[in-house]
Symmetry: C2
Subunit: 360 residues, 2 copies
DNA sequence: TTGTATGCGTTATCAG
DNA sequence: CTGATAACGCATACAA
């Protein structure tokens, strides 16, 4: 039943006016040392803590940052969130975390509602197929900055911090090709997502450059989760001839591929090479450890938060699009394709394609 | 530069008083249908959204929940957070997430500061060695409910939602013993943490019941992370005779054990059986898949949030201590010990600890 | 340098 | 049933 201490009580205790208290707290005017001390003492002894609510109401802005993400349960996101939080914390900003659950309407409702908290800025990892750009622009017109992370909604022209998705996918695919693979499949993420689309582009580019044909049915779209990756792998591995390598556009889906391969009795990498994207910590513990494109999740979050806070501080430059590097981590899930003497297990030989041509 | 729409503007547009607007919004009085409609129309057409800040200031309580956790990057926590968020969302509560980073002072500062947001309730997974109970009681005396999750700080007598830690550890250890192991080691978490202490108790109890002697140096304390688990495993596996089974008190540490074993050329489970705790999703993808005690992270969070909201709603009963069940998930990292001596394969409770020593 | 007063957007009390 | 009006806790322009 203890009500919080208010500024008025501090003022009484220190026998000064409430305005003076405010001044010593905010350094908004020089206060005579004597009084200043009295105020400080009162604050300490009464354990005063300014009401963030009242401050926000008065200043039309709080020190809260909104962050909406698809799902904290996806192991790529915690690192991003942590990066955001650490940077925010140092600057005394707090973050309200919202899981939009890949549901555009939930996302929209969060975004809309966060405005009522007068957040200082918004960080968002947009969901697939969300028509959220409009809502986001509403922030801009209220001059509260927004930074998109990892992907960008349709029509978004504002700040964004992304990773080199196409580049990473290109590198991974090229690696597969260099190992000798010619029947490459890809399990893409939801192509509505810019990052998923970029990764697919990287994959395609690598194949084109190497003059490797792309079988349309070897391009599967899934949902960036283990289950859908598993299903896609099942489809892929049921084809004849089946692919000798699969590039899964994130690690979760790669795990699904691993599982599918295992169930089908396929050895990795002897019968099937697998490459993933994200390079989560766990990739080193899988059987076999997973070759994957690393993307700096923590840095992604930290960088976005820094940019956002610059905007909060008043930076008015043109929209920035920051691109963080990715890096291929070679582990043990990729090897040369099994040269199955006459024929591979259950596989038919494909039509003529010059094999064994190594490039670069 | 667009300022948010306020209630006053709605009132003007609908040509009613501001009080009336409030009434139709909150249903706090019956309003004549005619006016009611006008107000509703105005709200819709102007996109009005009440200021959470002003509401909170006025009502001395917001619809925000504070949640402080050690580190969202620890893969056990995202599920818990998600459980909290989902329950909160359905009741229109939002959560402010704080990573205390296992730093008691950061934790204390978060807990203290969260009060200035007039949160409706606080959920906390306390850090090790934190003397936080006092701060928590401050909430109680301001009658804002607090629920501890997963562990409980020293001297905490309030609500808590935990899992059957001792039970789970007991089951896992018993399983190890039944497989024939007699030289069992344990890597405990920070024993300041109640859950870590409970798990160690479960381990001990299983050994005592089976009359298996506990080698003091086979009990190592680590930090619930992969690296410290790895280090502890290195110490353990350097002993002669070395343990034939290690119970790691969480999966992260178990991964460290796996890594250590691998580096030492020890096969799992032939040379070393490993059991973990948490049963994270990834445990099925490790090599070998990891036997582990499952604890329902999502349910932990959801249950805690439900209890908290009951308190928010005014439930005044005595403090509750909810215990969620754990369950041993047997996978492939546990097997019988390698037969080296006459007695070690026996299976039932025998005291056969001095068997022949092997070296790697 | 310090105090007073006003208003931020709501809710709630109280007349009418 | 509806409309004034007084807080809520603080920042700030202005007066003293």
């Amino acid at each position: 039943m203890t009500a919080p201490v208010t500024m008025r009580q501090i003022a009484e205790r220190a026998r000064v006016s409430i305005g003076t208290v405010s001044h010593v707290i905010n350094g908004t005017a020089t206060v005579r040392p004597k009084l200043r001390e009295r105020v400080l003492d009162a604050i300490r002894s009464m354990g005063y803590q300014p009401s963030a609510l009242a401050q926000g109401l008065r200043k039309h802005r709080t020190n809260m940052l909104g962050m909406v993400i698809p799902d904290i349960t996806n192991p790529f996101f915690p690192g991003v969130v942590r990066g955001v939080e650490d940077v925010a914390y140092k600057r005394s900003f707090r973050v309200i975390l919202c899981n939009a659950d890949n549901d555009p309407s939930k996302e929209a409702s969060y975004v809309r509602e966060l405005r009522s908290y007068q957040i200082a800025g918004l960080l968002i990892i947009p969901a697939a197929g969300a028509d959220i750009a409009g809502h986001l622009r509403a922030y801009a017109s209220a001059s509260v900055p927004v930074v998109c992370i990892d992907r960008v909604p349709d029509g978004w022209k504002g700040d964004a911090v992304l990773v080199a998705n196409a580049e990473g996918a290109y590198l991974a695919t090229k690696h597969l090709i260099q190992m000798g693979h010619r029947r490459l499949a890809v399990i893409a993420g939801p192509l509505k997502l810019t990052n998923a689309a970029e990764r697919l582009k990287g994959f395609t580019r690598a194949l084109n450059e190497a003059r490797v044909e792309i079988e349309p049915e070897f391009v599967q779209e899934a949902c960036f989760d283990t289950e859908s990756g598993y299903q896609a792998a099942l489809r892929l591995l049921g084809m004849l001839p089946r692919p000798t390598a699969i590039f899964a556009c994130n690690d979760l889906m790669a795990f699904g591929v691993l599982q599918a391969a295992r169930e089908l009795g396929l050895r990795c990498p002897e019968d099937l090479s697998i490459a993933g994207f994200d390079s989560l910590e766990f990739t080193q513990f899988t059987d076999p450890s997973l070759t994957s494109v690393y993307q700096p999740g923590y840095q992604l979050g930290a960088t976005a938060a820094r940019l956002l806070l610059q905007r909060v501080d008043g930076l008015r430059s043109a929209p920035k699009k920051v691109l963080l590097p990715t890096e291929l981590k070679k582990r043990n899930s990729v090897g040369p394709p099994h040269v199955a003497g006459p024929e591979s297990v259950g596989g038919t030989m494909r039509k003529g394609k010059h094999s064994g041509r190594r490039r670069r």
